[in-house]
Every structure is written in C-alpha cells, then in structure tokens.
Symmetry: C2
Subunit: 158 residues, 2 copies
Amino acid sequence: MIRTAVATDVPVIHAMIRELAEYEKALHEAKATEEQLREALFGENPALFGLIAEDDATGEPVGFALWFRNFSTWRGTHGIYLEDLYVRPESRGGGHGKALLLELARIAVERGYSRVEWSVLDWNQPSIDFYKSIGAVSMDEWTVYRLTDEALASAGRR
Amino acid sequence: MIRTAVATDVPVIHAMIRELAEYEKALHEAKATEEQLREALFGENPALFGLIAEDDATGEPVGFALWFRNFSTWRGTHGIYLEDLYVRPESRGGGHGKALLLELARIAVERGYSRVEWSVLDWNQPSIDFYKSIGAVSMDEWTVYRLTDEALASAGRR
C-alpha cells in the first residue's frame, strides 16, 4: 500500500503537487518542474525523499509524502520533516494519509531518528484532531520566520 | 569573521550547544554528544552544516549556526533551515548574530535556494523586531506538530 518513490513516479508526484496547490487555490505558485523534482529526489546524494500510496485494487498512485532530514541539537540525531502529504480526493477516507504518516514513523524508529515533524494550518481542525490522536504535540510557542524573494536577495548582498 | 565549521570545531560547537541549553534552563535535555555532532557534520554525505563566528581580535569562536536543507515543493528548490544560532554572552551586540544570518542568506542566493527559515519563541520580541527589520515574514497561520519519544515509538510499531 505504501512504497518508496522511484524515478518513474516523478510525473505523478509533479501532478499531485499541482493538484494540492490547486486545492489550496495557489496553482500559480506551484512553479516546480518535473526536472527539479527529479534532480532533488533522484540526483546525486539526494536531500529529499518520497513515499507513494497505492490503491490496493489497481496499484495506481493515489497519494504521496515528501520529506527531508532535520536535526535536533539537543538529541544529536536527525529527524524527519514531512514537507507535503497528499491523498487524491477520490481516495480519501481509506487510511492512505495515516498509512503514509505511520510509515514515516516506522522509518524514523528504524534509523534512530528522534522526531517526525510537519506543519499544519491553524484552522485545519480535523487534521489537528487526527495528529493529536496519534500523540503528536503542537509546538505552540514557536513561529517560523522566512526570508525569501527580494528580502533574501537583499540580505544575501550585504 | 564568519567561516565554515571544520572538524576541529566540534568540541566548541558542543560546548556552545550546552551553553545555549543552560541559558534556556534545559541543560538536562542537551544530550547530544561530540561523537554525534562529528558524524552529522563531517561523516559521509553530511545533512547538517555549520558556520563559526570568530572574534575579530583573537580569532576565538564566539558563536555558531547549524543548518540543514529543507525543500519547497512549490518552488522546486532547496532552502536553508537554521536550526540553532548562538553568540556567547560576552560577545553579544557586536553583530555576530546578524553576520551569521546574512552569511546564510548569501549561501542561499549563491546556490539558488529560495528560502532561509528558522523558528523563534513567540515572546522573544527583540529577535522578532530584528528579523522583521531584515524583511523576514512570520508564518503565523502555521503550527509545527511533533511526534517524538513514546508516541513516535508507538506510531512506528503500528
């Protein structure tokens, strides 16, 4: 049901990233190309990793997870940061999302990683309820700051 | 003033991680060993990277930054996530922290990375003011969820 992504999955991962962006009404912001994804996932020494959820009956990809390694300076170990998790609308409610998340937990435990982390929109209560049900804790006191676009270019020139 | 960390910096990075944890009254949580840091920073295909801030006069390390690569599925590029930034108390106010952050922006621009990101405690107003002054934006709508310890072990067994 869940398997590691391979190079021939790049087109379907690309398509699903765009479906997710469209669902978020931000298709114009989804600028990643198949080439960029292929390089990041399957180039030399990749720093991005993928899982595919397959339909049990047809074997067709119905969802994906993309993740990278973070690091805890307190634990001294890497962890998993789940950047994107998506299940196609027609396949929701079948446990694919949960299976993807639990597979990441299994990978983390197997490798001695201390954490699996991801971000959720504050208004997404159904997801928050699910995350809490499996024992995830919210890092309520922390906010991520981002330097990008012109501000990044300007800071990089100083 | 700012340079890439090298293997002989591991003991001073380890010491500064513990100083930072002590400042945060969490020294008991700072369990990382020098061996773990050496492996993560200077083992095969490292996924953790470091910068050292040096005192201009003495050349002694007075601060550090540790970072790893994240990934934007919209941009199709890696970015920099700054996990830890620390300047020793006696060297604060000398611009070392800002210099570390700007060096990360420079590295990001040079490599075509689209972002530099980091987390800040919501009550740390002086830092927030500084981050906003260089054009960083807060990801206010998002909260990080973390699966760790027993909850992670339990999820990994399902």
